[in-house]
């Protein structure tokens, strides 16, 4: 059991390194740009997989958390505080060392939040929002839960779309790079492509290790019990409400981190990142991967996001996701990468005569 767990992670590391080497040898490092973005989306997906597959709670609003992370860090690192330098609040923040002076694109002085400070504030905000929203929302089930999370996503989308200081329909652009530490900067410069690829997938690997350990712990077993039968789990003494809320917050944090990093990598963010279609897409990928199947979600997510980002799916992008959702849910609700799939297909074609008294 444990050996298999580590073998899988070693496999992931090998795949990440292998893809980079293959890209470098075949001179197709430009593919790494999309792969880096895919990596950040994968963070959202593994988080959502934990929530949907293991805790059994659907969320149609995860793009909202992604956007909260992205937008807050984008806003804080680009909003010029120089005119307010002498206000008490701003000078207080400046004393804590969270602000940096920098030169904007056209040479103007600007006083912004340091990307690290912005990142931490963004992730903490997502956490708090997830906690506040999650408490009442997770009491709901089924359609009500789906609709409440969808509603949350739409509210975030409408707010970023309608707010002038968040760039309205244009979003925020011209963000500075995020210097993690000297020598390692997250930005879209092509010279930093390989490093950024490893930052993104390094984060994915760390999250996967975290989640795999979580799933194989007492918490993971409790979650599966909740998924199986919530009332039964409750009766066994599992604090279902607490577990559900914690997992919701955790998955929101994953989404927000993905949002922060991808926004820095792209140098900006637009309202489409918060749209319902994005949330649906995340759900679709988790469903295709097989709900309670972290590896399935990761593999399918990487493939589909990469294809979609490279533009291979053309204008049929959304339609394809719709078809995939329907087909998977009709024929293989356990996901594509599952042991039962062949049996399912076989069962479909060989309808055995009904057994039993009916």
């Amino acid at each position: 059991m444990y050996r298999r767990k580590y073998l899988q992670i070693i496999g992931l590391v090998a795949a990440v390194v292998g893809v980079q080497l293959a890209a470098s040898f075949t001179n197709t490092t430009h593919h790494l740009t999309q792969l880096t973005m895919t990596g950040y989306y994968s963070l959202v997906i593994v988080g959502l997989c934990l929530l949907m597959g293991y805790a059994g709670q659907i969320s149609l609003g995860h793009a909202g958390f992604f956007a909260i992370g992205g937008y807050i860090s984008a806003f804080l690192t680009t909003y010029n505080l120089l005119p307010y330098k002498d206000r008490m609040f701003v000078s207080l923040i400046a004393k804590t060392g969270m602000l940096v002076n920098r030169r904007e694109l056209y040479g103007n002085e600007a006083l912004n939040f340091h990307p690290w400070a912005a990142c931490i504030i963004a992730v903490l905000s997502a956490m708090v929002i997830a906690y506040v929203i999650g408490r009442p929302v997770l009491k709901l089930k089924g359609h009500y839960l789906a609709m409440a999370t969808l509603g949350f996503g739409i509210i975030v989308y409408r707010i970023v779309l309608g707010t002038e200081s968040l760039g309205a329909a244009d979003g925020i652009s011209d963000m500075p790079g995020f210097v993690l530490f000297p020598g390692l900067e997250i930005s879209g410069k092509s010279s930093l492509r390989i490093r950024n690829y490893y930052v993104a997938w390094g984060l994915v690997i760390i999250s996967v290790i975290l989640l795999v350990n979580l799933i194989h712990s007492r918490i993971g077993r409790a979650l599966r019990a909740i998924h199986g039968a919530e009332d039964a789990a409750d009766a066994m003494g599992i604090n279902t409400a607490k577990y559900k809320l914690n997992i919701f917050v955790l998955s929101a944090v994953f989404a927000a981190i993905g949002g922060v990093f991808l926004t820095h990598y792209n140098g900006g963010i637009g309202p489409s990142e918060a749209s319902i279609m994005k949330s649906v897409r995340y759900v679709a990928i988790v469903a295709i991967g097989g709900m309670a199947n972290l590896w399935g979600a990761l593999i399918m997510g990487s493939i589909l996001n990469f294809l979609s980002l490279r533009g291979y799916l053309g204008s049929y992008d959304d339609a394809l996701f719709g078809v995939i959702l329907i087909v998977i849910m009709l024929f293989a609700p356990e996901g594509l990468i599952s042991r039962d799939i062949i049996g399912n297909i076989r069962a479909l074609f060989h309808k055995s005569p009904a057994k039993g008294p009916l």
Partner: protein, 296 residues
């Protein structure tokens, strides 16, 4: 604010409220028959409007509308037969995802057929500038058409569910499916019928409001969300309450423009939805006693 403006806002609110109520009734019919929420409900409205616009180029308006409604009803029935009928005991999560997938698919097909353009049916009587004036309040005749046709639809539905054998069978099926089956009702056909009916009502709504609100390939999603808000607000499954809740939400929205920018209009209605879900998920008109027996 003067009294004329006040009434003008009310009229605008009622107009939108009618549309929301129609979508909500569509939700409720399917929900009652199957216990699932059809996330593609808004797409029926869009399909109705779009089909009628296309048909109206070569046939008179009334027959275009009727044919559009019939076509969408057939589509609704087909969807049920192809995607829903043969699933045995699907989980709620599975049904949510399937209907979301359907809504995306229908939208993309509509984009493929009709493009991104915004379309509208001609006004049923007069033109876009014709108004009936009551005092200083101006009402477009189309508003009267929309509210009138919706009212007739709601009354007809009520009669159907209460006084016809088929309607009673559908109600029996919704209150206890197994018992209905034991009484010899073909519950599967009732589900198909509910999809057909709900598609037809959605399509009719789409035709009636399209002169005022226009239709576009993606206008279904927004309507579905509003319709769902209204359905929840009234209490899921209760069609008459949905009408009241629809008016309420429409009027609230039209007054919200007063205090907040229009861009945030949706934020208001969805905040109402969330608030309702948190405080009283059984809806404004749902009884607390029956809701204790239900799972929210």
């Amino acid at each position: 604010m003067n009294i004329e403006l006040f009434f003008q806002y009310i009229v605008a609110g009622v107009t939108y409220g009618t549309i929301y109520a129609i979508v909500a009734i569509g939700f409720n019919i399917i929900y009652n028959a199957t216990g699932i929420i059809n996330f593609a409900q808004g797409e029926f409205v869009m399909l109705g409007g779009m089909t009628a616009v296309s048909l109206s180029t070569f046939m008179p308006l009334p027959s275009a509308i009727i044919s559009a409604v019939v076509i969408v009803m057939i589509i609704g029935a087909l969807i049920e037969v192809l995607f829903i009928r043969w699933l045995t005991n699907p989980s709620v999560l599975r049904m949510i995802i399937i209907t979301i997938g359907l809504s995306i698919l229908i939208r993309e097909i509509a984009l493929f057929i009709w493009g991104e353009g915004v379309r509208a049916l001609p006004y049923f009587t007069g033109t876009s500038v014709t108004t009936l004036s009551v005092g200083d309040v101006h009402i477009s005749p189309q508003v009267l058409w929309a509210t009138g046709i919706s009212a007739v639809t709601v009354i007809a539905l009520n009669l159907f569910f209460n006084y016809t054998l088929l309607g009673r069978q559908m109600r029996a099926c919704s209150s206890n499916r197994n018992a209905a089956r034991l009484c010899g009702i073909n519950t599967r056909n009732m589900v198909t019928l509910s999809f057909t009916l709900s598609a037809g009502i959605g399509a009719l709504g789409g035709c009636v409001v399209s002169p005022m609100t226009y239709v576009q390939y993606d206008s279904g999603t927004g309507l579905a969300i509003k319709g769902f808000t209204v359905a929840i607000l009234g209490g899921l499954g209760n069609s008459m309450a949905a009408v009241a809740a629809g008016m309420l939400l429409g009027i609230l929205e039209s007054f919200s423009i007063w205090i907040m920018p229009t861009a945030y209009k949706d934020v208001i209605s969805i905040s109402i939805l969330l608030g309702m879900l948190f405080i009283k998920p059984s809806g404004l008109f749902g009884s607390a006693e029956t809701s204790r027996l239900k799972d929210f």
